[in-house]
Amino acid sequence: MSLADELAKQQRSISVAEFFERNKHLLGFDSPTRGVITTVKEAVDNALDACEEAGVLPDIYIGIRRQTADSFRIIVEDNGPGIVPRQIPFVFGKLLYGSRFHQIRQSRGQQGIGISAAVLYAQLTTGVPTLIISRTGADTRARRLEILIDIESNEPRIVSDEEMEWDRTHGTRIQIEFKSSLASKKRLIEYLKYSSVVNPHARIRLELDDETQLFDRVSDEVIACPKPIKPHPHGTEIGQLRRMLSHNSSPLQEFLTGSFSRVGKKTAEEVCRKASLDCTKDSASLSPDEQKRLIEALQATKIPPPPVAVCLSPIGEELITRGIEKEFELDFIRARTRPGSVYSGQPFLVEAAIGYGGKLPPEGNATILRFANRVPLMYQQGACAITQSIAGINWKTYGISQSGLPTGPLLVLVHVASTSVPFTSESKDAIASIPEIEKEIVLALQELGRDLKLYLSRRDRNRLQEDRARAVCAILPDLAEKVAEIVEETPPDISPIEGRIMRKLVARKRTRKGSVSLEISNYTQNRVDVALYDLSGDEASDAVPAPDFTTRMEDEFTKVWKISIDPTHSWVARYSGQGGGAIELRGMDPRDVVVVDLDE
């Protein structure tokens, strides 16, 4: 027997499932710890995609419970449209089975590999089948399936299948058990937090053993589901073209206008002319050489970029800002959505945001939030085009220190949305270095950097003013004391002066010879709206201006004025009475208010 015959005995096809079993790292299951995150990520991505398609506000529940020392049960439940029963085994029990692979539009999942890989991983580590419950509407009952994957054939194996009662009217629940650890719990929470930032319309509830955490929605707007578009000629390769031609038997011009976006009659004629092909020739009858001429002509013809607005759904500057605001307490947030652009015929757009100060760590590298099609990228930060673009910017221009990456209390968010995000690998951890995308990222961040610089210089100026004011306030008490010693009187109360210098609201009450005066001076830089409460034994029936209302409690009268005062202005009320009691200002941070009682 020849060696070739020997070898032939061992040569056979490899099932996808088998391949995956050996190459778990390619799909993000390289370690038990990472497995939890990948599973949750895939399930949540599917849930968000499904809700988006159905036009409902996502309500997602995630439960993670320890079963044995090293195995966990993970439950992800959504209020999406549900899955029709006959598809359930394939969606969860067959790798590379999905609805979005053949569509050109922005979506989180694409290949239909993620969740089934989790099912397979569960099967490989614990052998426990995955439980799916799904219901498509109020008029049907829920379906409950237990599924395994036949590794050799990459086909689902149904362990049990029954109908059941479920309190949700529509939605899907998946329950997976596998060996793992919760060593990366922090990262899991981070993942959900970041997801919540770019999906501000979603409510995500996490139950981790006995801990619960809610990432609530800040927007009640259902996001518009991006519509699929036809492929753009510039992004089409010969293989794809051949496939398209073989499925289609029509005149060439009709084929071109009907199969590609942005190709009209005139463009189709131009392409045919360039390829020296007859417009009326049957598209299915092209010879390989003619096909080659056609693809070359398609690439060489000037064709407008694909319709970005249709197939992409940017988060928007306002929602990004609100999303960051709700998850991070910051002093400054600014977001920018760049206009759409194209790389290799694929539409994409970049959104970015910069946050500063607040509770961010004051030292060390900036917090970087990377997103692709609204999905947080959690691993391989260094290999990602986003990180490289950030490091390539001269942050010192914007008043931020830098050692490679910018440092200090800074948050940088970059979201790349595209019909096909160019990832470096199937685990979708990092975006590949594409010059068109990098350029857009840099432009967005530079625009934001300029805003940040403006904010920082303004803040520094305010801080300088405050430092000066503080310096004055450190000297004033000594001055008051010394001056009082010279004139042989008791030291004056200098808090109103301090209020003036520190730019606060100063309220004074003074009673002299049976006349009470209440004065409020606004030394802040803004108009203030406050309520003044004056509690004393005086009824103040002759007060000018009259209080907005007065309440009586035995011998005590509470007079309330609602007041608006412009900066540098004062407000005064007078009435006859004996004074005493107390005054209080409501509606302002007490730190910005100085109340002085000058009653003797």
Binding site: V472, I475, L479, K482, V483, I486, V487, I497, R500
Partner: protein, 362 residues
Amino acid sequence: MSKKETDHEATRKLVGIARAWYDQMVTGLVPSISLPTRTKQNIAYDDESEVWKYGDKESIRSAGSAKSALHLLKMSFVIWFLKKQIAENRSSTLRELYYISEGWKKAKFQAQDESNFLIEDLEILTDMQREAFHLRPEEDGATIFGPLKLREATRRGSRDIHCQDDVGEAGYQIPTNVENIEFLSHDARFVIAIETGGMYARLIENGFDSQHSAILVHLKGQPARSTRRILNRINDQFGLPVVVFTDGDPWSYRIYASVAYGAIKSAHISELLATPKAQFVGVQPSDIRDYNLPSDKLTEKDVAALRSELTDPRFCSPYWKEQIELQLALNLKSEQQAFAARGLDFVTREYLPARLSAMGII
């Protein structure tokens, strides 16, 4: 004004400053004071008193800024100290005041200049001289030699002194507080103020005082307040003409200007210190040319000083313009004692008599 009255007035005015601040603070105002701006740009000629005084420009020091707040704090400590010093009938020098501030923590002075400047502020605010606060300058006054009889109130009682008969070769030492001197009588035709000790001694040795009935006053360079005050008083009380004899360089012209018109630093008391009728004898730039005096070349600083004098309102007269421009053209300067090149008696026998008669003094 008696000493008791002066003490009372000084205390009243000092406490008045603090009182104003106190009232400001009680009414919720940021304490502040207003002072004239003390620069060359803000001195103006006062026609009535014929001296240069501070103009209308005022700067407000408000405790709203940390620097000014600290200034006010230091001022309050000084007022507090002076009030106590006057009440206890004690006195101190400006230098001592600077050292006393060591214990004032935040209100401590960083340099002697700072405390001197602050005392001048108080003089302006109270319209009184620092002597009224029982403060003495460090420098001693210069000396006088000539036919003048005066009475000085000393710690050991009052003394009558004749400034030729009762003094040694060096003359009568002017005390720091000239207000303690009373002029009794004189037998003089004019007063000559001399910049350098060498020339002062030359005039005494040559008997210039008795020959020409002159009162010699040694300025000792830039004259102390007490020296300027005594010239002002002699001129005022006896109506004697005052002439100033200095070196022939830009710095010496400033000595003359401070005698005649007052100094920028003390423009608030120009009326008390300046002698507007004082005349400049020399050495004039034209003397350098006419007598062919031994001379030195002007330095860069000399030239800059001369140019600055051309814009100084105190030198804004045809005479000074001509002399300064001549000197810039000659590019030379000479000392008083350069006349010795023509013999030790030349200055008293030839130069001064000729120059003084040309000026109409003798």
